[in-house]
């Protein structure tokens, strides 16, 4: 049977995230963007909602059951509040979830309880490389097996919280396959560069990371010597990003609708002009369609359906365009006011364009 109604538990979580988004994230977002700094207590408050903690089973000190769908619902609601804050709250996911999906039992036992301990702590991952031709399946960062060790060399970019992270997963090319390696902070050869400046996400601390013959025990490879597939990590990233793009789009959409119903032109509200009303109709339609694609893909992943990976990719593919179109149109509907930093739409538009480049930057 089809159903489009979240469970009661999911709804309670959504309500809590929505309150956090409205009351905490939104009021703080602009200042955080201007100062390029997120207040730690804001992140802490989001962490206390326990989205990640609730998706890790009790065996690893969590208190729930993993569900991609729940993660997707929460990710949308988070990103609706503020994308930088949402990504910050979710940064430990980048470390914990690949271990949960693909790590060995020992790795899960060793790392998961530490990550989901009471306080938010920076645990991160490094996937993206500084070339336009970046492809997660064909990384240039290399990993070479040397006896009981693995030696990693290369350049990474867009590594969240790299400067203060306790540990990170570094993705590297091992014999043509992308594999994750757990690298603790302070490992010799691992150097964190300057904080990076990007078109959007000003509040979210992203760093470049250089790996100069970083030597780690071979056991630090995700799932040890057996290794793992990148598939579930990519699918998780794709549905997470799709949902978060929908959240950003929904924020811009609602703001533009409110504005258009207030603003007078030629004796009527600007929303009463068909050219504007039609933009709003298309924005609303594409947001709902994209949301359903993300939900369906998440549901397929949870159910282990054939082609779930493909649907995650399609949802992401759609969301990248939807969020750009919607945030751009929101700026357009506000006209000159949309271009002024007093309104949030220009920030959402800058954040929105990033989704094509955010591969692996969010996981659910």
């Amino acid at each position: 049977m089809y159903s489009f109604t979240p469970t009661e538990e999911q709804q309670m979580l959504l309500d809590a995230v929505k309150r956090y988004a409205d009351q905490d994230m939104r009021p703080a977002a602009r200042e955080a963007d201007e100062k390029s700094e997120l207040p730690r207590d804001l992140i802490e408050k989001g962490w206390e909602l326990g989205v990640l903690q609730a998706s890790i089973p009790e065996d690893y000190d969590g208190f729930g059951e993993y569900s991609t769908l729940t993660g997707v619902l929460a990710a949308e609601a988070m990103a609706y509040g503020d994308l930088s804050t949402a990504l910050a709250v979710m940064t430990p996911n980048l470390f914990a979830l690949p271990i949960f999906f693909s790590g060995s039992e020992e790795q899960k036992k060793e790392y998961l309880p530490a990550v989901i301990a009471a306080e938010w702590k920076a645990y991160t991952a490094a996937l993206i490389e500084p070339t336009f031709n970046f492809d997660p399946w064909e990384l240039t960062t290399s990993a070479v097996l040397a006896g009981d060790s693995i030696v990693i060399s290369g350049e990474k970019t867009y590594v969240p919280y790299a400067a203060e992270a306790e540990a990170m997963i570094i993705y590297a090319n091992l014999d043509g396959e992308t594999q994750g390696f757990i690298v603790p902070q302070g490992t010799e050869g691992l150097s964190v560069g300057e904080r990076q400046k990007t078109l959007g996400l000003h509040a979210y601390p992203l760093y470049s990371v250089t790996l100069d013959k970083v030597k780690i025990p071979a056991d630090n490879r995700l799932n040890g010597s057996e290794g793992h597939s990148l598939k579930s990590i990519m699918a998780s990233s794709q549905v997470a990003l799709a949902a978060m793009a929908v959240g950003v789009a929904q924020a811009a959409f609602e703001y533009a609708v409110d504005y258009a119903k207030e603003r007078e032109v030629f004796g009527v509200k600007v929303a009463q002009k068909q050219s504007i009303a039609f933009m709003i109709a298309e924005m609303g339609t594409d947001i709902e369609a994209t949301r359903l694609l993300a939900w369906e893909a998440a549901w397929m992943l949870d159910e282990g359906k054939d082609e779930a990976d493909k649907h995650a990719y399609l949802a992401y593919n759609c969301a990248v365009d939807t969020v750009m179109m919607v945030t751009d149109q929101a700026v357009q509907i506000l006209g000159g006011h949309g271009y002024i930093r007093e309104h949030p739409v220009e920030m959402w538009m800058r954040n929105g364009r990033g989704f094509a480049a955010f591969t692996g930057l969010a996981l659910v």
Binding site: M1, Y2, A281, W299, N317
Partner: protein, 417 residues
């Protein structure tokens, strides 16, 4: 709990209907396209018999209530009638969108009766489909000077108080399957007319005209870009007398547009069904593209970053994404209809999206396939022509955008024209 699992009965329906589409539709697709105004009787007879055997007599989701003993212990399951209709319409349109429109049994007319009719009317008119011979219905709304703007309708209905009959006068155009409803079978059409031209939309009601009613004539059969298997006709009513009970809904004109709105509510069910038809044509075109690419050993690589995709991959993946997006909107719209949730917004969204997507996909497919796409050796060029109607009938894309916008903005028609 959110779920995208297609209900089991629908999976079966889909398999059965696919066989029909493959065996009864595709083989005659080209022939029916080339011989406009010929009627696909073999398909019609087959569908009539098959649907009767299956217990359903029409494709209307609201069949006359069946006398079925309900087990009181059993929890009542939510209906899946509209979702079932969607599966059928999508698959039949994948077979042939023109022939699909020749499916006997209740279509738009029955939907109107289902949405606005009294229990007696439902029983009386929907039972017409249960006879030995296949019967058709149609919806007559558009006039030469009134398309999407139904307030401009000039057809009139006047009550003759002596005989207690309605007298209808006026002309209707673009009536889909009107010829089959009135001439080729003993069916009926639902006609929109005004009780009081001064009252604007508040005065508009729908009436049922049965076949062989004196004063009602089919006057013209249109020649079209696509869906040629389906007849599109003009109808003239000249002092056409109808029994009093043939009015759908309230006969009194209130100040409000309640009656009119009741009639418009029909669209909340029919628009996603039209969307389903669009999806079927689009899927046919997209599958054709995949087949032809496979013949040339070209594989579409899913999962690549955008800068690494070929243009062909980008196009095909976009088509696939958009088709799925429109499909999901349609499923949700009809799931809401089945669960008696108000679906005006998403019903129009699904129609906007599917109409647009089907048009773009078929156009892109012809483009990508080059000389193969443009050739009449294959059905792709026909699907290109068939698909376009979905962005026009049952409310053009633009009218549906207007409906979506009004719903989002909370505006009445007077606030957003």
């Amino acid at each position: 709990m959110i779920s995208f699992e297609m209900p089991k009965p629908l999976v079966q329906t889909r398999t059965v209907v696919k066989t029909v589409a493959e065996n009864m539709m595709r083989p005659v697709s080209r022939e029916m396209d080339e011989n406009e105004h010929e009627i696909p009787w073999a398909y019609i007879q087959f569908m009539h018999t098959a649907m009767k055997a299956l217990g359903g007599s029409s494709m209307a989701a609201d069949d006359p209530p069946k006398k079925k003993e309900q087990d009181p212990k059993k929890e009542k399951r939510p209906s899946i009638n509209y979702q079932c209709l969607m599966v059928m319409v999508e698959m039949l349109s994948w077979g042939d969108a023109g022939i699909y429109l020749c499916t006997p049994g209740g279509m738009l007319g029955a939907a109107a009766v289902g949405a606005a009719g009294t229990p007696e009317q439902k029983k009386r008119f929907l039972s017409l489909f249960q006879g030995k011979e296949p019967v058709f219905d149609a919806m007559a709304m558009t006039e030469p000077e009134a398309g999407s703007d139904t307030s401009a309708i000039r057809a009139t209905a006047v009550l003759d108080e002596k005989t207690n009959e309605w007298i209808l006068n006026g002309e209707k155009i673009f009536v889909t399957a009107g010829h089959k409803a009135l001439v080729d079978s003993k069916g009926f059409i639902v006609v929109w007319a005004s009780l009081d031209l001064e009252a604007g939309r508040a005065g508009i009601r729908s009436f049922i005209i049965e076949a062989d009613t004196p004063g009602c004539k089919v006057t013209k059969m249109e020649e079209k870009l696509g869906i040629r298997a389906s007849d599109t006709v003009s109808i003239v009513m000249q002092d056409c007398r109808l029994p009093f009970d043939n009015i759908l809904g309230s006969p009194t004109i209130e100040k409000s547009t309640k009656g009119y709105k009741g009639a418009m509510a029909t669209f909340d069910a029919t628009r996603p069904i039209v969307a389903a038809s669009a999806l079927g044509v689009a899927r046919a075109a997209l599958e054709f593209v995949h087949e032809k690419l496979a013949e040339e050993n070209i594989t579409i690589r899913y999962g690549l970053p955008r800068q690494k995709m070929t243009n062909l991959e980008r196009e095909v993946i976009d088509m696939e994404t958009q088709l799925r997006a429109a499909w999901l909107l349609t499923v949700k719209a009809l799931w809401m209809a089945d669960n008696k949730k108000s679906n005006a917004l998403i019903a129009s969204m699904s129609k906007v999206k599917a109409g647009k997507v089907a048009t773009i996909i078929t156009q892109k497919a012809v483009e990508i396939m080059g000389p193969v796409g443009y050739s009449q050796e294959y059905l792709l060029e026909k699907w290109f022509r068939d698909a376009k109607i979905n962005d026009i009938f049952e409310g053009t894309g633009q009218i549906n955008l207007l409906v979506v916008a009004r719903n989002i903005l909370g505006y009445r028609g007077s606030q957003l024209r």
